[in-house]
Symmetry: C2
Subunit: 254 residues, 2 copies
Amino acid sequence: MLPHSVQSGRTAERDGGERRMKCVSCRDEYGAHDAGTCKECYEEASETEEELKREIEDLKAKVSFLRFDNHQQRPSFTDVVLVAYDGQPVPVPVPVPAHKAVLMSRSPVFKAMLETEMEESRSGTIKISDVSYDALRAFVNYLYTAEACLDEQMAYDLLVLAEKYQVKHLKAYCEKFLVSKLNWDNSIMSYAFAHQHNAKHVLDAALSMITENMNKVTKREEYVELLQKEPRLIVDIYEAYVAKLENTAAHKDS
Amino acid sequence: MLPHSVQSGRTAERDGGERRMKCVSCRDEYGAHDAGTCKECYEEASETEEELKREIEDLKAKVSFLRFDNHQQRPSFTDVVLVAYDGQPVPVPVPVPAHKAVLMSRSPVFKAMLETEMEESRSGTIKISDVSYDALRAFVNYLYTAEACLDEQMAYDLLVLAEKYQVKHLKAYCEKFLVSKLNWDNSIMSYAFAHQHNAKHVLDAALSMITENMNKVTKREEYVELLQKEPRLIVDIYEAYVAKLENTAAHKDS
């Protein structure tokens, strides 16, 4: 954070023969070794910062304008419902109402589905399989607001939906959250999940986490399970690990 | 703009007995008198700038996600049309299709109109009076995208619609544009317009422009017209002008 008053930053004192400056930001003195910027560049940077903050305020207002805030409370003039099937043959009883126009604008898959005379378009009901009611509701809410309240399970569920319906913005949002929650404990599970649902950022971050903790990770139950179910993914891990080892060795030699 | 390499900024040379620093941003030398920040504060400010830029990127992506981009080309599943009446008894022939849900989400006036059983809700046609087709189209487009291509006339037209339908975000957008186009030449017209349509930012800016150019402005035809039509507004100008003169005089005395 840069303070705005710069006038009093010009004082300088001699200290042990070395001329010392006073920093206009933290007000501490500094010598040549700790020099940052001249006053002109400082002022320019402060202006840039102010401009960026104004731009952020403008963009936030735009987001708030474009968002459908009260959709979930009292949706009006909806023309389609989404119904969750959570693995059982009968649907979850509560349908989630929505507007075809919003679904189409956010997802090319919904667009294709609703533009053509597919069953969903005629019946006004879109069946969403393998999803809980809560996840479906959060998914639809995100399409209206670009917001979701995530925990790890919800991030996994929404990422699956985002990938299936090609909602890139939501997918990036979930990936960012999952990467921030990565640790060596959940790295194998995240890695397998990311591979299955084409989540490249999570995949790369998980692979890196795994190769940094190979000794611990390879002793885990999830590792053994993955080895049995999808040995090809374990090969990828070893390839990355060996490349890392070789890289480190080459670095030491030079 | 702050460059990222700071390592080489530490050099300092003696010049005429005064120790001089090298600015890590512009690379020029500076003395005590032109001191800006120390290195630590510079690095902190650079990080802040990077963070702000990332936030801007995130917000831009959100805006782009929430926007209905292709609305005007091929609107799908619209359930209402807006029809422009430009002062003639017959409407402009081309109606502008839209979604009730979008209109309601952006404007409390449309919300009230469509939620209740008013004629517009039943007929699916909303008549918009005293507006050209182009302005209506731009207005509806703004409700979908938060974007408009403005010139002065369009800014006036959209501000009127924004005020009438209480679309605050659009009103602020038009006001900002009109303030940027203010000059003493258009100040009286802007002032009268702003008063009529409750545009406070334009009003304040125009009043300030007028009082700064009283001699020139009071000779103009628009001034004489306004004096005849709305003398109360001229009184407001004189009140502001006299306050300014008194303020300047008081400043000089002290």
